[in-house]
């Protein structure tokens, strides 16, 4: 049902995602993986940039599609009940899109920074002289210092945008069951009670929520009591996942500031406590990103297209048992394969970085996955006649 109704609008956005990801990522990922030694430093760097740009295109289109469902714009509705595009510019650059794109792209960079930082820190803990580990750790910590504050600012702007377009989601994030006519408190912690419609054991700062959301201590802030019950998102999920995301964000900022302090005291490579903290924070992005998505996706319930199409009316005519069975199958398969993948990746990360290390193990096949001409000619021509001369 959903794809029939929404396909004319978000289908082409996803179509562009496929085309641009297909072309740029698949085309140049092979070059990137092929390694520097075959194509030369400059071409390898160019290919890496193109993969990055292709991935950003991918993010652009897929987040545009998601944002349109959150804040639909530029559409009409035809006789068959389908949403139809009226103004593509308005569809693509819908109100929440710039905020969501910025927030997600920064999140992706931060996730990577923490993984790289953790691997660098892991090897510094064993050998604080390893130059490659030093570069990894230093670059990752600079990234953390610079990008985490940007991300917090972007998150704040995204939140204000959500308040404007999806106020019920912000009410659930804040845990505001009740309206606060004279300034709303910021609930730091508590347990949402969906029966009593209140936050139990709340630890709160008076009026701070009004200050953050309205930039005025006494600004009135509406609560979920102004929203019909069947139009409210599930408060507990949104409340908790939002706090996990924000908590991890604060921890990221903390680690960044600690690294800056250690760097200023010239002890960046000489602070095992900092390295241990960085190792512990390695998966932080992998936890924060899903927590953020859970906040925004659970927070837009009960709609798929916000305010227009409910989730219940989007459902396809598939038996619940079939959906359940396939979901379980995917969970089992993903856990098995990600388990194996995580094992191989961790084993790879455990190997200390060295300069001029081989890019491929000798018994691994050449992978092209789409080719760049110069690289491909190099691979086909230079490889075998000299008895694997290009192979380390």
């Amino acid at each position: 049902m959903f794809s029939d109704k929404v396909g004319p609008v978000i289908g082409p956005l996803m179509g562009y995602e496929v085309l641009s990801a297909f072309f740029l990522e698949a085309g140049f990922l092979g070059v990137m993986l092929f390694g520097r030694e075959r194509v030369g430093e400059k071409l390898h760097f160019l290919a890496t940039l193109i993969v990055a740009i292709g991935t950003l295109f991918s993010a652009f289109w897929i987040l545009s599609a998601n944002s349109w469902m959150q804040t639909p714009a530029g559409y009409g509705v035809n006789a068959a009940g389908q949403f139809t595009p009226v103004d593509w510019w308005a569809v693509i650059f819908n109100p929440s899109f710039p905020y969501r794109l910025t927030h997600m792209v920064l999140a992706a960079y931060l996730t990577t920074a923490f993984v790289v930082g953790a691997v660098g820190a892991w090897h510094l803990l064993r050998d604080r002289k390893n130059p490659a580990a030093r570069v990894m750790f230093s670059m990752a910590m600079w990234m953390t210092v610079l990008v985490t504050p940007l991300q917090i600012a972007a998150g704040d702007a995204h939140g204000l945008n959500t308040l404007e377009h999806q106020p019920a989601k912000v009410m659930a994030m804040e845990g505001h069951y009740q309206s606060h006519p004279h300034g709303a408190p910021l609930i730091l912690f508590g347990v949402p009670n969906s029966v009593g419609r209140r936050i139990d054991f709340a630890v709160e700062v008076p009026k701070l929520s009004s200050l953050i959301l309205k930039h005025d201590l006494n600004a009135p802030l509406a609560g979920l009591d102004t929203i019909p019950l069947d139009r409210q998102p599930p408060v507990a999920i949104v409340f908790w996942s939002f706090r996990i995301m924000v908590g991890l964000g604060v921890a990221m900022l903390g680690l960044g500031l600690c690294s800056l302090w250690a760097r200023l005291r010239r002890r960046l490579y000489d602070a095992p406590w900092l390295h241990r903290a960085a190792v512990a924070m390695g998966p932080a992005g992998f936890a924060a990103v899903p927590a953020g998505w859970l906040t925004t996706e659970a927070g837009r319930q009960p709609y798929t297209v916000y305010g227009l199409l409910t989730t219940a009316r989007s459902v396809s005519p598939i038996a619940a048992t079939a959906v359940g069975a396939s979901l379980i199958a995917f969970i089992v398969v993903y856990f098995t394969l990600f388990g194996a993948g995580a094992f191989y990746i961790l084993r790879l990360m455990n190997t200390p970085p060295r300069p001029h290390e081989p890019e491929l193990s000798p018994d691994e096949p050449i992978r092209a996955g789409g080719l760049l001409p110069a690289m491909a000619m190099d691979a086909a021509g230079a490889l075998s006649p000299t008895d694997g001369g290009a192979r380390p």
Partner: protein
């Protein structure tokens, strides 16, 4: 008259699906016959022969599926629920065989597990695709704008037949590919397998072709009514030509013609399906014009597609050209 956008898009999606079948078909086929060749070095050789191209090949499936949702959203909304089970099985199979390419080289002790993932995943994906095809050919009941059939409708004697036919057919493509791209033991074994896969494929094509017109009166009319028959008669005739070239190539130990003739069989079968389906996109329920998204959606995506698809085709063709010649055991390619 304005440009007939739904017709152009139906052609593009059909092209993406055909590109998927002839490209991914042979690398799935290599997976299907994988267990029948023993010896680590020989298996490395088989896997290396498709390693540079398989993931580009598979992306055509994403293009076909994604394109279907973008330009024929009604068809997507009907076909996905109708074929839910086989599509899920296909995806799981593709996941297993895809990761096998990466993980197989990371372990020695666990290698047999990834061998099984590669072979099992390839076979399951091919079988599920064949079942989905059979279920589509049978026709899909629609009420209003939704699938109106049952959860088990895809499982019939006919769809089981098409499932088996596609597994055997892909295996033939895989064997043909190995005859072309390998030497010595692997080539000999592939040829021996092709010598019974080829007649089996031809027999299955025959059974499916004879059965199909009896499934639905509309198919019968499209194939046999005057003057359509003038246009459709060349299809079975060309199948006969391809069959002769295939068998001659195998018996005379040719290197390329078995693969190319098997691919020709697949193209002709695809054309045959097109004859049966057109102008429906959901057989006998929804036409391409009924399912098409508004012109503004079709035109918007066509701009990007008409620039990017030729580019993708160009570099795909180029990568096959670069990796021409035989594969050797060490994984490098030599001319």
């Amino acid at each position: 008259m304005t440009v007939n956008l739904p017709f152009i898009w139906a052609g593009l999606i059909a092209f993406a699906v055909l590109a998927y079948v002839i490209l991914d078909g042979f690398d799935l086929g290599v997976g299907i016959i994988f267990p029948f060749l023993k010896g680590e070095a020989h298996r490395d050789e088989m896997m290396n022969s498709v390693a540079p191209v398989w993931d580009g090949n598979e992306t055509w499936l994403v293009m076909g599926g994604g394109g279907l949702m973008a330009v024929f959203p009604l068809a997507f909304a009907i076909i996905m629920p109708a074929l839910y089970a086989p599509i899920i099985v296909m995806l799981l199979g593709l996941i297993f065989r895809g990761v096998a390419f990466e993980f197989r080289w990371k372990t020695r002790r666990g290698q047999f597990l990834w061998d099984w993932a590669f072979a099992g995943g390839s076979t399951a994906a091919a079988f599920a695709q064949g079942i989905a095809l059979g279920a589509l050919v049978q026709g899909i009941p629609v009420a209003g704008r939704a699938y109106a059939g049952g959860w088990w409708d895809w499982l019939t004697p006919f769809s089981l037949l098409t499932g088996r036919a596609l597994v055997v057919g892909y295996a033939l493509l895989g064997a043909g590919w190995l005859i072309w791209k390998t030497e010595h033991h692997v080539q000999d074994r592939a040829r021996a397998m092709a010598l019974w896969l080829a007649p089996a494929t031809l027999a299955l094509i025959g059974v499916v072709s004879v059965w199909t017109p009896f499934l639905n009166a509309a198919y019968w009319r499209r194939w046999f009514a005057w003057p359509n028959v003038l246009l459709t008669a060349p299809v079975p005739f060309l199948v006969g030509v391809a069959a002769v070239v295939l068998m001659r190539g195998l018996i005379k130990r040719r290197e390329a013609s078995p693969f190319l003739a098997s691919q020709a069989l697949f193209v002709l079968c695809f054309v045959g399906l097109g004859v049966s389906f057109y102008p429906h996109i959901v057989p006998n329920s929804v036409t391409i014009w009924q399912a098409a998204a508004p012109a503004r959606s079709l035109a918007f995506l066509l701009v990007g597609a008409s620039v990017l698809i030729p580019l993708i085709l160009a570099y795909t063709a180029y990568s096959y050209w670069v990796f021409r010649g035989k594969v050797n055991v060490a994984g490098g390619y030599h001319r």
